[in-house]
């Protein structure tokens, strides 16, 4: 009787220690999850919206030029209007977890819509460029690539035909970006950059 009592209390105690450890660990892990998640989310949000903002700025500038000069090129203005309209539909919160985006955009699933929307925006931008006779700027996540592109573009005269780049090259870039979105924004936390055992915390030093 006494033995049984001891055993039970021992098991309970072990559980108590485990629970105590778990609780402390969970609180610490949460801090790290938030920090790492924020860092990744900042990068991704910047990357996506830097690109979208670029198209928006480009279209906005040309629209103001057309208005100032009272030019009536319907094709260019049509592209500008649609491009700005598409960008205004793009969510400013993480598209994969915001439930409202599905409603706003309407369609099957949110992620597919975001990809589709991004693709539409890119091709609309390219269409606008070719109508304007301007070489489209390749948007890359990395600022230095943009710098190189801009400098290259500014040091050579713009070809009158405009679009030099083939669609294929850009599309692969698109695929890479949207895949990144899937991986990092997926609701499944395990996919969000934590493959393998976490190495952030060292237990022995706690």
């Amino acid at each position: 009787m006494a033995d049984q009592f001891d055993l039970e209390s021992l098991v309970t105690l072990e559980q108590t220690f485990y629970d105590q450890g778990y609780e402390d660990g969970h609180a610490h892990g949460r801090i790290h999850g938030l920090i790492e998640g924020r860092a990744l989310g900042r990068e991704k949000g910047f990357e996506m919206w830097e690109e979208l903002g670029f198209y928006q700025g480009f279209a906005t500038m040309w629209r103001s030029i057309y208005i100032a000069q009272n030019r009536q090129d319907e094709r260019a203005l049509h592209h500008i209007k649609h491009l700005l309209d598409l960008i205004s539909q793009f969510p400013k919160v993480n598209p994969s977890t915001a439930p409202t985006t599905t409603v706003e955009i309407g369609g099957a699933t949110t992620e597919v819509d975001i990809e589709k929307l991004f693709r539409q925006i890119r091709s609309r931008y390219k269409a606008l460029c070719s109508t304007l006779g301007v070489r489209p700027s390749l948007r890359a996540a990395d600022g230095s690539a943009i710098a190189a592109e801009e400098l290259a573009a500014s040091s050579t005269a713009a070809p009158s035909g405009g679009v030099r780049r083939t669609g294929g090259g850009d599309d692969s870039g698109m695929a890479a970006i949207s895949m990144g979105v899937d991986v990092e924004m997926g609701g499944d936390g395990s996919a969000a950059g934590t493959a393998g055992p976490p190495k952030i915390w060292s237990l022995d030093s706690m």
Partner: protein, 194 residues
């Protein structure tokens, strides 16, 4: 002199040590499980916050200015000079400079610090004497930027400006420059802030 208590005291010590070992084993096991669960449960929440509160708005603003500059640049190259040819050339050079300066700005130059992350990293440093790990993606990006800085400093003889990183003030100044050019040309951009 032998006390009957002595042996018992030793036994107690041994038992205490064993007890401490068991308790810390279970505590550590719980801690390990808890930290993983806590991290994974919070990653998405952190991601969404960083995306919506910092990354998207700052990216939008910088991208917008870059787009305006790019649009203006492409217009000036295609347009017939309105004023004198000299005026136009000066304007093209000015826009090119703005474009180049805007391109030099990195996200890391203009994003606000994550104070909570910095504070937590400090705690790790104080308690363990080692820095907090970063995600591989971020660490790699910082490495690339470090290498870029090294190259910039090697070729800095020609351009000492490259040694100091741009700031939000520089971004603001570039925005003002663009604004005044647009005003001069009568191009009305309705919204500058995004």
């Amino acid at each position: 002199m032998d006390s009957p208590w002595e042996e018992s005291a030793e036994e107690n010590t041994a038992r205490d040590a064993e007890w401490t070992k068991i308790s810390s084993e279970f505590t550590n096991a719980g801690y390990r499980e808890g930290i993983t669960a806590g991290k994974e449960g919070a990653l998405q929440e952190g991601f969404d916050a960083g995306f919506a509160q910092v990354g998207a708005p700052i990216g939008h603003q910088l991208g917008f200015l870059r787009g305006l500059a790019s649009g203006l640049n492409s217009y000036l190259k295609s347009a017939k000079p309105q004023g004198g040819a000299d005026d136009n050339e000066r304007l093209v050079a000015e826009i090119r400079q703005i474009t180049s300066n805007l391109s030099d700005i990195r996200f890391s130059d203009i994003m606000p610090p994550d104070l909570e992350a910095e504070e937590h990293a400090r705690q790790h440093l104080v308690q363990e004497g080692e820095a907090m790990d970063e995600s591989e993606e971020i660490a790699e990006k910082k490495n690339v930027e470090r290498i870029e800085d090294m190259f910039a400093s090697l070729s800095a003889g020609a351009n000492p400006d490259r040694l100091t990183r741009p700031t939000t003030q520089d971004l603001h100044r570039l925005s003002q420059q663009l604004k005044s050019i647009c005003t001069r040309l009568n191009f009305n951009i309705e919204t500058w802030e995004h």
